[in-house]
Symmetry: C2
Subunit: 230 residues, 2 copies
DNA sequence: CGATGGCTTGATAGCGTTCAAGTCTAGTGG
DNA sequence: CCACTAGACTTGAACGCTATCAAGCCATCG
């Protein structure tokens, strides 16, 4: 048997980290490693939600759409994040890979059963879900009440928190895992507005854009002020 | 001792409904009935989150605000809904009464301990939190991608689902527990836009407004189309 | 070297905001 | 019973932010 959990890259940070070695046995049998290519979709909104998963590497988007096809990205998932929606027959949002992605996938029903028998894991999932709710609500404030410039500033600080590497002069730097179109779908804007606000932040010296997909935060304090965080 | 739980109006619908009579004893000691006047705030964003609660009657808003005071209502709570944020020292959103409100309030820390000992209640809370997350994400689609008219149509259908009474001719009718300003804060709009869209929906025959605060849904199907629900 | 997809930039338009009256309703006191 | 008031609501006019439409740029890749 392959020792999936034994050398798991995110074991200590995922909800499985709560389990003892013996308990992990159960999940070890349940879980399957799976790779998703950029653009591939794991769960479709409106379809039966067959699986849950832990994200091992890469970035996933969770997205909803209107009847006529307008899209809104309602969440981003990073390594060690929990993926999916236990206890719902039908997924309300789609889950799609923004980069190459590795997952540890569980069939939903057996995973739900496993939750019942591993109170600590269930507890961790509750805490994560509560945190995700707080995050979603913060994003609601962004979508409903912030201007384009404030939205972008908030978003870049968010990304820096997840992907940021300390670089020269104490600045933070990272590569965008999203295209402008995807950023627009996160912020409830259009590509053009995202692009314009990006260059504006650069011109004002708050950020630098060495190349299209790289971002360096030059003035974190000013960016935080721009973000209008409470 | 007062039999708080014995004659609880929402016992069978709240997360306490999962408990046996003996288990309820624990909560019975913990819970206190509390009344909130319209406009009173139970939890302040940024302050220590001292309590959780079950909502017995009335409507609560959960709201976030930017540094400069713009407000976004990120959730509405109805009778039997769970109130508060276990496992967080500090509340990220405020909780305020939109109407006269009755609550069954628990001090947070002891409530968290009770959760640990009552797996079924914890499980129910997890399910509710997951549902709340789905709801928040649906609202993100509304805020980011829907027009003012679509926002209002969606919102009125939402309210009808919670408060609607079947009235003559099979139409659904209800009283708004929110002012126009509060509706605006839910939908990420201004008072004036809400008012204009309201009269527009009335003129088009989708709804009727017998008085300022009463709403009758005349053409549910058309309203659903307008709402652009997936 | 041309094609493609992602990105930027410019010009214009429109939706929703802002500012400003004005109306309606409920509650209060004469 | 009727002014009077205050708050909620509606309506109108003008503005501005962001969307829309339209080129054009730039890197990558065949």
């Amino acid at each position: 048997m392959v020792q999936i959990c034994g050398d798991c890259r995110v074991r200590d940070r995922s909800i499985c980290g709560s389990l003892s070695d013996e308990e992990l046995e159960t999940l070890n049998h349940l879980g399957r490693n799976r790779h998703l290519h950029k653009g591939e979709t794991l769960l479709w909104a409106g379809e039966e939600a067959l699986v849950c998963a832990n994200l091992l590497s890469g970035v996933l988007k969770v997205s909803a759409a209107t009847a006529d096809g307008r899209e809104q990205i309602v969440g981003l998932l990073y390594p060690s994040d929990f993926v999916g929606r236990p206890f719902a027959e039908e997924a309300e949002q789609s889950v799609t890979a923004l980069t190459e992605v590795d997952l540890c996938v569980f069939p939903r029903k057996p995973f739900e059963a496993a939750l019942e028998h591993h109170a600590r894991m269930e507890r961790l999932l509750l805490r994560r879900t509560l945190a995700a709710l707080d995050e979603a609500r913060a994003r609601m404030l962004l979508l409903g009440r912030k201007t384009a410039g404030e939205k972008l500033a908030t978003f870049l600080l968010d990304l820096a928190g997840h992907l940021g590497q300390r670089c020269s002069e104490g600045d933070t730097s990272f590569d965008l895992p999203l295209t402008r179109a995807e950023i627009a779908d996160v912020l409830g804007l259009t590509i053009e507005t995202v692009s314009r606000q990006m260059t504006k932040l650069k011109q004002e010296g708050l950020i630098d854009l060495p190349s299209g997909r790289q971002v360096t935060i030059r003035d974190r304090h000013a960016l935080e002020e721009r973000a209008e965080v409470a």
